[in-house]
Amino acid sequence: MTKVLTDARSIRIKGRSFLALVLSPDLPLDDWLVRLDDLASRSAGFFLDRPVVLDVTGLVIDKIQLKDLFEQLAERNVRIMGIEGARPSMLGPGMPPAMKGGKPAADVEVKQREAVSEDAETESEAPAPADLQQGRPAAQSLVINEPVRSGQSIIFPEGDVTIVGSVASGAEVIAGGSIHVYGALRGRAMAGSIGNSASRIFCRKLEAELVAIDGIYKMIEDMSPALVGQPVQLWLDGDSIMASTII
């Protein structure tokens, strides 16, 4: 059931979200670059050491023009980590990868530069932390440190829900992502509720009234008696809910 890697030095791959600045150029590009220079002169180093994504959604340019834009930006020390809204044909080797699924965050305000400073390093740090903190997107996981009682419902479409405790009969947990219950799952659990079939449900003791993943339901009567009362994980395989015990 579980594959064990014998090599202790396994590669760790983690997901992490960062707040990137998004630049959305408009035509004509020459004018836009003039405005960018103006911005940069008022706030030196604003783009230094920052992840920047270029959003070209709706921009009518070809591959050559896009490549030229990258070079112009590189000359200004603006390094693009990814590109959003470009047709695959516009991208190629030597170009940043396409990005999608970005979530909007608060606009970043560019602070007026107070005095001319030679030290671009420190200058670039100044506006960064405060401004970017505020623009951070909402957390994608919710941790509940107490039991979910009968009659209560926890609804979190943004992502995963972890319950450090039990989910009572007559209680429900609805998550956009996976559901983790470090206790008995006696109520209802619905994972992947906004259409995420990769979501799973984990619990220390399965006594659920109902489980659902991405809209596919299963009642406790439909489950193998061998799983009831056991630590179990549930996932979706096509249109059926699969379950197995976990250690």
Binding site: P147, R149, S150, S166, A168, A171, R186
Partner: protein, 271 residues
């Protein structure tokens, strides 16, 4: 300032009124000033269990509506001079209980008494939420059977959301009072086990009260069981529970446990 306890359950007939009277008398027997308040407007019972039914003149609703002063409505117990009852109205509608009125009465009672014990009506409606609103701690009365346990779970959820303490972001102290515990039926497996109930509700246990004819006998006499016969098993269990509510650490005994004295479970508590 006195402490406010709500005795609540969700499910009806599990022993809230019996427990309110028994705990109130037990605390008063220890010399503390106690008032028991009946919130069961329309179905009042506490006056009967306290043996005060013929002395009810004014009630909680009269006080809230400004038709009587609090001192006029309070009934002093015949046996214990520091035990009082604030009865509910039998005739009035429960809509007469206003939030502001209850606020005012409880605030006044807290100033005079060491303990204000509120006997909640069954259910999760307005009467029950008003009874729990001012509580500093809750005694959740539960019988060892599935429907009672589930209703208690529901009530615990309300205690953590619908009370002043919850609104202020504080934690409500909750205690599980397992009543009508029948050791013979437990032995046969006809009832939920103590551990099962604790595992489901995960709040600390304050007492296990055995099923006993002494309870009915006491209520027929019009006396809290702790006053009717202080030596009977349910009375002793209530005395111990009262000491735990005062903060004493006492081991809990499961009534009728074959292991007898060695069956005591120390520090039995749930997370």
């Amino acid at each position: 300032m006195g402490k406010v306890i709500v005795v609540t359950s969700g499910k009806g007939g599990v022993g809230k009124t019996t427990s309110t009277a028994a705990l109130g008398a037990a605390l008063a027997q220890n010399g503390e000033r106690v008032v028991v308040v009946d919130f069961d407007v329309g179905l009042r019972n506490l006056d009967l269990v306290m043996g005060a039914e013929r002395r009810v003149v004014y009630d909680l609703v009269n006080v809230i509506q400004g038709e009587a002063k609090l001192t006029q409505a309070l009934i002093r117990d015949k046996r214990l001079e520091n035990l009082f009852l604030l009865p509910a109205s039998q005739t009035r509608d429960k809509d007469n209980l206003t939030t502001e009125g209850v606020d005012r009465v409880i605030t006044e009672l807290k100033r005079v008494f060491d303990w204000v014990i509120c006997d909640s009506p069954a259910g999760i409606e307005r009467g029950a939420t008003l009874a729990m609103r001012h509580a500093d701690m809750a005694v959740v009365v539960t019988n060892p059977e599935v429907s009672s346990v589930r209703d208690s779970d529901r009530i615990i959820g309300l205690l953590d959301s619908k009370t002043l303490k919850a609104e202020r972001g504080e934690r409500m102290e909750k205690h599980l009072m397992l009543t009508r515990y029948d050791s013979v039926r437990a032995e046969r497996g006809d009832m939920l086990k103590v551990d099962d109930v604790l595992e489901i509700l995960s709040i600390p246990l304050v007492g296990i009260i055995p099923e006993s004819s002494d309870v009915l006998r006491a209520s027929n006499m019009g006396a809290p069981v702790t006053l009717a016969d202080a030596r009977c098993a349910p009375a002793m269990a209530y005395f111990e529970a009262a000491r735990r509510l005062r903060g004493e650490q006492l081991p809990i005994t499961i009534p009728g446990d074959k292991r007898g004295i060695f069956g005591k479970i120390f520090g039995r508590k749930a997370a």
